[in-house]
Amino acid sequence: MTLIVNKQLSSKLAPGHSTCAGCGIPAIARTVLGATDDPVVVVNVTGCLEVTSTLYPYSAWKVPWIHSAFENGGATAAGIDGAVKALKKKNRIPEDKKIKVVVFAGDGGTYDIGLQSLSGALERQHDFLYVCYDNEAYMNTGGQRSGATPYGADTETTPAGKKSFGKKEKRKDLMSIVIAHHLKYAAQANVAYLNDLKTKAKKALEMEGPRFLLVLQPCTNLWKFPTSQYVNIGRLATETNFWPLWEYFDGKYKINWATENPKPLEVFLKTQGRFKHLFKPGGEKVIAEMQKEVEENWKRLVNFVEV
């Protein structure tokens, strides 16, 4: 049984990749791609997944795959979508043949350098699924802050020090930016909840037009925790409301997991080296600010649902 499951899991992304021990990115890629039986073309922007899966002359990809550059995941997918549409128009492939174009990109390639390309592709309503695995910093280059890095985090370019508590700015609200493009489906997921991710990926892959998944991916290197802990830490992100699971479909918001009593954010923060400095004297103010942000974001989300 385990063997069959493993075979299925690795039918599109083989085990021969070289991601770090304790990295959830392959689980994200496999779960998303496992949610469809249609032929898939994968676009991978520069980042951890790309660099660990295609070391020439080897490739871990058993589906067609392209890496072009860092900031052009949306545009590359747009070109492939254009090609599929052109071939259908010219009857060179059957009109009803379903081909899924799936982009995998990290937060750097999505929130920051690739935002324009993503925005253009969303606005033009290309037929593709964009999956951002969000580990909250530039991890392929060793841990520099990105637009996804939370307030208060210690990174290589926002180090905590005698006069600094780490990153001084809040995370970019990427989901709102994406949703502002009038797309049908967008969802926030978490690698620690693979069933939820699978359901969302399946839903998204069955639709047409632009779809977007933002998946939290706790990174053992940046976040600094033991490699065995990524699922537990991912769970704490959701249980503290730091990373709620929710989706947007046809103008309606839905929260997929909620608790009456969310855990205090501290429980999540103290598991990770990147927030260690906040547990020294003076850090309580920053933690209070972070807790406030979490609560405000949650309230806003709940309001969307009620509206």
Binding site: P64, A69, E71, A75, A77, A78, A83, A86, L87
Partner: protein
């Protein structure tokens, strides 16, 4: 007698669009920039009228236009775009990715100055800036050559799996109406044929990985193979010119050697200024001067051996560059210096001339003056033609 063509008056931009209509590319991602817009607007109207059924992608930047062209071309279809100036600068990152992945994308270029200061007029700074991007580059003198080169370059690009730029002078060629002959649709379509990609992303039976990571143990070989393939394009284009000559009646070569046979002095130039230079050469010839012209068409790959062959007896050469390489030889002049260095037992005089930056006019008299200057014994440094 060739009877499968018709005469028509078009701007260079519209001539390019006419060739595109006949090619009917599968995907055309575009982003507007002056003076490229006549190409994409004319073609968009053709698509709107059902004269072509290309999938147009109105990208949000040139970077994305070229990225989408890469995606489409990797998916195995004919992908083309058009650009100019800052647009080419913005897509510069993706140009070597297209050539490195061996994707035969065709780009029409309406060549223009680059900022700062901003200037929307013609020169060759943009295309010279990306001359090492691994793209074939073909210059066109007029609307006729824009049309012809578009068909020829596509065929060469697809045969060699190297992307190609067809270059016209911004405004002088892109916006000037000229008479030209275009092939019948069927003749043009037959010439370019159907495109079949060797490898592509929609092959689900035998999936391919495009753009993998290559470390020091393999990267060098990739680049060497690319360089070798580019060199080989010189021979291939000769064959394609021959084939094109048969159907069009227009015989082309890697360059145009105009009254060079017995020339004692010559100028070398690319683009629309060659037309003006021909008039200057004719007038000088009438006065008994042994003047000639070498019009560069294929700039990448650069046909060193063939150029050496036609320049070997010309002692005095002025090279006209419509760009500037700050602190170094201008690009075309550098290539000519390299070329003559391979010719044994002959002393050459080379005059480097920079002209036409940011749309500055150049006149027949300016060119004649340069020829006059070549008669003297002393060559000054770089001549800036038409500088105030």
């Amino acid at each position: 007698m060739i009877n499968n063509s018709k005469k028509i008056a078009l701007t260079g931009g519209a001539a390019a669009a006419e060739a595109l209509r006949q090619i009917n590319p599968d995907v055309m991602p575009v982003y507007p920039i002056t003076p490229q817009t006549p190409i994409i607007e004319t073609f968009a109207k053709m698509v709107a009228d059902g004269e072509a059924d290309t999938e147009m992608i109105e990208a949000e930047s040139e970077h994305s236009a070229m990225s989408a062209a890469v995606g489409a071309s990797a998916a195995g279809v004919r992908a083309m775009t058009a650009s100019s100036s800052q647009g080419i600068m913005l897509m510069a990152e993706i140009l070597p990715i297209a050539s490195g992945m061996r994707l035969p994308i065709l780009m029409l270029v309406s060549a223009r100055a680059i900022s700062a200061p901003i200037n929307i007029h013609g020169d060759h700074q943009d295309v010279m800036f990306v001359r090492d991007a691994g793209w074939i580059q073909i210059f066109s003198e007029n609307a006729q050559e824009v049309y012809d080169n578009t068909l020829i370059a596509l065929k060469l690009a697809e045969k060699k799996r190297i992307p190609a730029m067809v270059i016209m002078d911004g405004f002088q060629t892109s916006h000037s109406v000229e008479n030209l002959e275009i092939l019948e649709n069927s003749a043009a379509k037959n010439f370019v044929g159907e495109y079949k990609a060797k490898n592509h992303l929609l092959d689900f039976e035998d999936p391919k990985t495009f753009g993998p990571v290559s470390l020091p143990n393999s990267f060098f070989e990739f680049k060497r193979a690319q360089a070798e393939s580019m060199d080989g394009a010189i021979g291939e284009i000769g064959e394609i010119f021959g084939e094109y000559g048969k159907i069009s009646g227009r015989e082309y070569d890697l360059f145009e050697a105009y009254r060079l046979d017995d020339a004692e002095k010559a100028i070398v130039v690319a683009g629309s200024t060659a037309g003006t230079a021909k008039v200057a050469v004719d007038e000088l010839r009438e006065q008994g001067e042994k003047a000639g012209l070498l019009k560069i068409k294929l700039f990448r790959p650069f046909p060193y051996d063939q150029v050496a062959e036609v320049l070997k007896n010309v002692g005095k050469i002025a090279v006209f560059d419509r760009t500037v390489s700050f602190g170094a030889n201008a690009p075309l002049c550098g290539e000519i210096i390299q070329t003559i260095s391979t010719i044994p037992n002959k002393k050459f005089t080379i005059q480097s001339c920079i002209y036409g930056l940011g749309g500055r006019e150049i006149f027949k008299e300016d060119i004649k003056k340069v020829f006059e200057g070549l008669s003297g014994d002393k060559i000054e440094g770089i001549k800036y033609i038409g500088l105030k």
